[in-house]
Amino acid sequence: MKYLTEFRNGEIAQRMAREIALITTRRWKIMEVCGGQTHSIIKNGIDQMLPAAVEMVHGPGCPVCVTPLELIDKALAIAAQPRVIFCSFGDMLRVPGTEGDLFQVKGRGGDVRVVYSPLDAVDLAVKNPDKQVVFFGVGFETTAPANAMSVHVAKRRGLKNFSLLVSHVLVPPAIEAIMSAPGNQVQAFLAAGHVCSVMGYWEYPPLADKFGIPIVVTGFEPLDLLDGIRRAVLQLERGEHRVENAYERIVTYAGNLEAQKMLAEVFEVRDRAWRGIGVIPNSGWRLSAAYRAFDAEERFQIAGIRTVESPLCHAGDVLRGALKPAECPAFAKQCTPRHPLGATMVSSEGACAAYFNYGRFLSAEELANAGAVHG
């Protein structure tokens, strides 16, 4: 596959890992913000290839994981209503609310559908004028343009039966919150390549300056990640703190201006609660006044939601990078993908699920010595 295979070359990866080891003289903690990157690091074993002194800390960049429990409960309540078609990306269906998940709502007769684009949900609204169609608009800046487009199209077509349940969060305020948190140990960031493909990286130089941290825009394939880590280590070793773009084949400084224009029209910035972390100022989007009529929270006034989180779950510490999933006392014991206590164990991009799914309940030594392949 063009643009993928050439970034998965094992030999070059080993060479880059050796180069990182050569330039590393001290201990460094680097956070990858994006859950997709966490997934790729653990799946490919990038962290196993790095020198012990370079530690990857997994950030809060899994949109499924940071969607507040209250909003999941609202989604469950809306999806359970008659004459509602509730549409979502697949990941969200298994995320546990206070009582059950969307799969169970579907099992009890709720019309819950997995769609691959929010525009498919708009089409459903056109085809089902007697039903209310709700799309669960979850994600970072990456998924926001398509969600914005769905509302834009719905308004243009005069649809009265389409609405968006919005849970959009933004990366730069999260970096600010992590760096400002007492006891923070993160010294550099890999910025999420696909977020930057939409937003560009003009938002990051002020953060690099304010906190004196290197920020490297990084892709998702093994060689992308190793290159991003190499550049971050190089800056750290030299005492620099610049914003670098290691994902030039996708990301430009300005980003996708058309998408940004659409976002500015449809959304406005607001404070957002992040599951496991708390409220971060100016860290999310809601529909702007011109599109407020398409807000599912306004349309379905769901009241009386009381959320209860599992007391055993340390997802907040994991999302802040303060705890590795395998260090959580409940990991792989009370908490597994079959019995998730928190969203980080549910979503395929959640750090806990990534650790579980790629066998990090084995020790590093056990994993390294796992069976040799014959032939």
Binding site: M1, L4, R8, N9, G10, A13, Q14, G36, I42, K43, N44, G45, I46, Q48, M49, P63, V64, F89, G90, D91, M92, L93, R94, F103, Q104, K106, G107, R108, V114, Y116, S117, D120, V138, G139, F140, T142, T143, H194, P222, P337, R338, H339, S347, S348, E349, F356, N357, Y358, G359, L362, E366, L367, A368, N369, A370, G371, A372, V373, H374, G375
Partner: protein, 359 residues
């Protein structure tokens, strides 16, 4: 069961996992952990008998008395695929081949099939004729006879056009003892061709997901190819299975658990078509979990590895066969893959169907 005929939750061997989902969810049918839990905590305790307890693709039955009873295999499967016709196959071909393959990987020569239809009011007869014709063709190709059947009609809105159940019986080959329980440390793992073709073929024609390049289902009867292997080196084959729902990963995990061994595979040599790999990348799916309908996995004594590979490669359905790994005493009951980066990762059983990722 309780006195009223309603399942009594407290009488199940361990009802706790089932209580998490008090109603059936789609993942119960996804070939993952939830389905296994239904078998383990509901069906097995209710129906318990020695034939069922083997939990093979087909039950092994002994009929007749005396010192030399005839040994048969019996299997059944239901087919609810949508759309009914897809690139490379149809519900009719699947219904025949699915049951034929379950018998074949149990070491039996499939001979007789039943066919039951559950049809929805309003289903066009022309479509039914096309389905039946596909079944007849598949049965002819596989060399089996459809000898009994049934038809039921449900009211409009209560079915999805056409559901099919098939059951089949075949005579077990003498002198052969393949079983998911018999994989042995040192055995090599051979897959008969590219993985993920069927699942991605179905996905590619589902509403809202049309791909430019057409991926074809691998739907095929495997009894001929398997017979070629067993005729030549039957005693060297310890376990076989067709990796359908849940894909290669689920099959290997099931055999690792049943035989209490570890399985190590090399991810870089597992055959995957480029178009299937691309479609999987697009949707955030892993081809090791995607369904196949015309592939078999063989666990073979290592000294016979080359022989089995060359027999498979000489067969039209096994041209892309590859040796992908080995059975080990390390990490029992666990499937470990070596990645292209040279690191190892565990490939666990999925809970249910894979879900396309958000971004």
């Amino acid at each position: 069961m309780g006195e009223s005929g309603v399942p009594d939750f407290s009488s199940w061997s361990c009802p706790l996992p089932l209580r998490d989902y008090p109603t059936i969810v789609m993942a119960h049918g996804g070939g993952g952990k939830l389905g296994n839990e239904l078998v383990e905590h509901l069906f097995l305790p209710a129906f318990r008998n020695p034939e069922l307890e083997n939990l093979g693709d087909a039950a092994v039955l002994e009929l007749g008395s005396g010192s030399n009873p005839a040994r048969f295999a019996m299997s059944t499967d239901s087919f609810v695929v949508q759309p009914l016709f897809f690139p490379g196959g149809s519900i009719g071909a699947l219904a025949v081949n699915g049951t034929v393959n379950d018998l074949a990987v149990s070491g039996a020569n499939p001979q007789f099939l039943s066919a039951s239809f559950i049809l929805e009011e309003g289903f066009p007869l022309a479509q039914l004729a096309a389905v039946v014709s596909a079944m007849a063709d598949a049965a002819k190709t596989a060399g089996v006879r459809i000898v009994t059947g049934d038809t039921k009609v449900v009211e409009r809105g209560h079915g999805d056009g056409c559901y099919i159940n098939t059951a089949g019986v075949g005579v077990l080959r003498p002198g052969i003892s393949v079983s998911p329980l018999h994989a042995m440390p040192g055995d090599v793992v051979i897959v008969s061709g590219t993985i993920g073709d069927h699942g991605m073929a179905i996905m590619s024609v589902r509403e809202g997901l049309e791909f430019e390049s057409q991926i074809r289902s691998d739907c095929a009867a495997l009894n001929g190819m398997i017979a070629a292997v067993l005729d030549a080196v039957g005693e060297a084959v310890h376990a076989m299975r067709d990796p359908t729902r849940g894909g290669l990963a689920s099959t290997l995990n099931e055999i690792a658990a049943a035989s209490n061994v570890g399985i190590a595979i090399d991810e870089t040599v597992v055959p995957v078509r480029p178009e299937v790999q691309s479609a999987c990348e697009l949707l955030g799916l892993d081809p090791v979990y995607v369904a196949n309908e015309g592939k078999a996995v063989f666990f073979v004594a290592p000294e016979f590895a080359d022989r089995v590979l060359s027999i498979l490669k000489a067969h039209p359905l096994g041209r892309d066969a590859a040796l992908i790994g080995q059975v080990t005493t390390k990490h029992p009951r666990m499937l470990v893959a070596r990645t292209a980066m040279g690191a190892n990762r565990v490939i666990p059983t999925q809970i249910g169907e894979q879900l396309p990722r958000i971004c």
